[in-house]
Homo-oligomer: 205 residues x 2
Amino acid sequence: MTQSAPLPDLTADQHDRLNRQMAFLREADKLKGILRASRLLDNSRHENSAEHSWHIMLYACVLAEHAGDGVDATRVMQMLLIHDIVEIDAGDAPIHGHVDHAAMALKEAAAADRLFNLLPDDQARDFRALWDEFEAAQTPDAQFAKAIDRTQTPVGNLHSGGGTWTEYDVTMDQMDTRVGVPIQRGAPVIWAWLRPLLVSFFANR
Amino acid sequence: MTQSAPLPDLTADQHDRLNRQMAFLREADKLKGILRASRLLDNSRHENSAEHSWHIMLYACVLAEHAGDGVDATRVMQMLLIHDIVEIDAGDAPIHGHVDHAAMALKEAAAADRLFNLLPDDQARDFRALWDEFEAAQTPDAQFAKAIDRTQTPVGNLHSGGGTWTEYDVTMDQMDTRVGVPIQRGAPVIWAWLRPLLVSFFANR
């Protein structure tokens, strides 16, 4: 064994916390197996919710300058980091699909109970509060996070010739309602950039 | 069209910045196609570098309390968010594989030049400086980020019966050198938790 530097002695509490934290982190691996309706830009396969979460955090970081006053980019990143973890139990609900939203909300709340409670109690409470705030979409941070979450797929679909819009037979009116409303609420500058591109795309197909 | 709320007028500069930011964000989609040596915990397929990046950001967020004094968790998250983007051009170098590290460093620097320069100039400089800091591993933030990056795979391998350790015929001595040194430097508490589990695993296989 080449180990030489002395290791710190862990307290029983540290050891217990690390056991619970690692159990949660291992369970989170399953998000890589949850597939979304959208595909990668090279059309090779469906996107999974773990890589989607990474991608929208990159969107949030790069586009943070377009957030309104009072948005805390760090909290937005944390929301986006955990926003889809409930899909491990509840699955993904495609934005343009036919979804029973009340039933889905119940499934997601049960998933949040199970998954976040793998963590030490204080962290379970913090993560749950952050996820609840994202879902409620009432604070500036949550509204910017929601706007970013809605921005990635249209930017990709514009580039790849339509993507899920073709599959779900989506119209510009539906885009205004389902995508435009949340983006404009949280990031009007981004919607001002995106909407003319969408109008042109939908007029020409 | 149901669009009714007025959209803000974008300045030419805002429009140009958004074009460049979105070009970078679309290009980043390719990280989802870069496969690592490690596999998902259910052994169904290799892990890609985008979902890996999400997972280690979750590790960093959950394990932040085990960082040393003076570590800024927000900067650590940003480093981990972008640390693997160069693999879009340079590919992944497995930690236990036979890699020409000097040649790899040159390829990664060229990749950083191309990819970050898709962004507006100020952001290109900021992202490059953050990536350089991560690579150099000299600051407390970079050392904690490196420690977290090294923690995820062993935690998974312990759970899934060995994973890449079997494939690459890895020994405990190699674990101490390649994994233990960077984890102990950046997060000694985590290594104090992890090392006894590794010793036990390698003694019993």
